[in-house]
Symmetry: C2
DNA sequence: CTCGTTTTGTTCTTCTGTTCACAAACTCCT
DNA sequence: AGGAGTTTGTGAACAGAAGAACAAAACGAG
């Protein structure tokens, strides 16, 4: 912990990296690394809860299923938060990653589409504990309103703008049928939301500056199926298609 | 279309790539491409339903949000299924992709853990229409048994081996709490399942030859949060640490 | 205080994936 | 039939990510 003082002091006395002088956050973190930071964060939380105060890159690599060299390189983008010969302070590193990701404070989130999946998402406790707070559940269907899910009333979709403005919501989750997803997206964007997590099986178009991530359950299964098929028929091809031609 | 005969015949007369000679399925499809094939498949299905018989790589690229050159290269790994100057036959290409992925017939799937998420998955109609058939819902908790979800009875987890053997199930879905996930995995693997889709927020360890894909809802949100944070504070860093250096 | 051990942070190499750009192949029009 | 216009399939350049390997930094023992 005392090791904190040299902060980002790059060992070899180079105070500024890339010639970017003062901007200590000037390090551009590669996308692949960003996608792994949450994994490290979760593993560190778990280690911390088990009372482990320090861990090496090998330990953390084992806990996350990542190659230790890759892990060290990932962490090095954030700064120099380890101690050579010792390892990383679990709590300290966890805080640094949380800060880098931006989950030291909670992000308000709205969920639109309270069907089966929306229910599950609303009830998912992992959001709360990992930096997100569901502030509203919205659905266009009147028969779903007033129903209480996870302690929140389901409200009309038309309340979107009001809620986004009142709570400064930046992140929206779409769990509607595919056909409604683009409309919901447009309304979200218009109301000020600039990051969307989309569970609807459709490609959304959004203006620049808005991020969309998509989670598609059947795509994941299809990727598994592809590899599964290759296992089953390791060598032979299952296309009996000589005849087709002509 | 006639172009099928030369199989992988690379134009410049190189019949065997990599020296792998005759293996027509020897084309190794890059992982990144495999992950996009289901997207193309879905878009083609949608085009087909709209009565569109032919599409160019530009059309399909627009529908999927992918660069058209990348799309063409992806498709070229499967074979030469387009016609220069014309484009791709929607149905024909769709069939070829489905065959490559291995979803021309349905894959039986079991879902373990019928909580909120398990419910949602069991009811998700997209599985059925995209090459998967949920053959059983399993849960360790006795109070969940006999409950009917999506037309299937929830059965005891101990029935796993019997079901997997009876239906030759190769793919399992884990929607249990994190703490149970590794045990469920071990049982699945022992019973013969070799592809797992994991929704539990934990790293699974599996023997070689078993594939695991993980879907983690809060990780997706955290990735969005990272970028969102960067938008909010485009330049200034939120760590006020100039003083440190010494 | 010096030596040996540990473990980080980083450089260099290799691999994988993306994008560009264009010849080859096809259609359609005249 | 020939030429103009499209669109594919792919080689080659480029970019990004992963992995191996090692010097620099910290610690502890003697």
């Amino acid at each position: 912990m005392t090791a904190r003082t040299p902060a980002d002091g790059s060992p070899h006395g180079v105070a500024s990296v890339d010639g970017v002088a003062g901007r200590s956050s000037g390090r551009e973190i590669p996308e692949a690394t960003v996608a792994r930071l949450p994994i490290y964060l979760r593993a560190l939380t778990s280690l911390g809860e088990r009372g482990i105060g320090t861990c090496s890159s090998e330990d953390l690599a084992a806990a996350t299923g990542v190659n230790s060299a890759k892990l060290r390189k990932d962490l090095s983008y954030l700064g120099s938060y380890g101690t050579r010969g010792v390892g990383y302070d679990v709590d300290y590193l966890r805080y640094q990653i949380a800060r880098e990701i931006g989950v030291t404070h909670d992000w308000p989130v709205v969920i639109v589409g309270i069907g089966n999946l929306g229910h599950a998402l609303a009830n998912y406790s992992g959001f709360r504990s990992r930096g997100f707070r569901v502030v509203a559940l919205l659905d266009a269907a009147p028969e779903r309103h007033r129903e209480a899910v996870a302690g929140l009333e389901v409200r009309p979709f038309d309340d979107l703008e009001e809620i986004v403005a009142a709570e400064t919501v930046a992140i929206g989750v779409i769990a509607t049928p595919a056909v409604a997803a683009q409309d919901v997206t447009d309304r979200m964007v218009a109301s000020g939301i600039s990051s969307i997590l989309n569970f609807a099986p459709t490609v959304l178009s959004v203006p620049d500056g808005v991020d969309v991530r998509k989670v598609d359950l059947s795509i994941e299964l299809q990727i598994l199926a592809y590899h599964e098929q290759r296992k089953a028929v390791p060598d032979i091809d299952d296309n009996p298609e000589q005849e087709v031609i002509a």
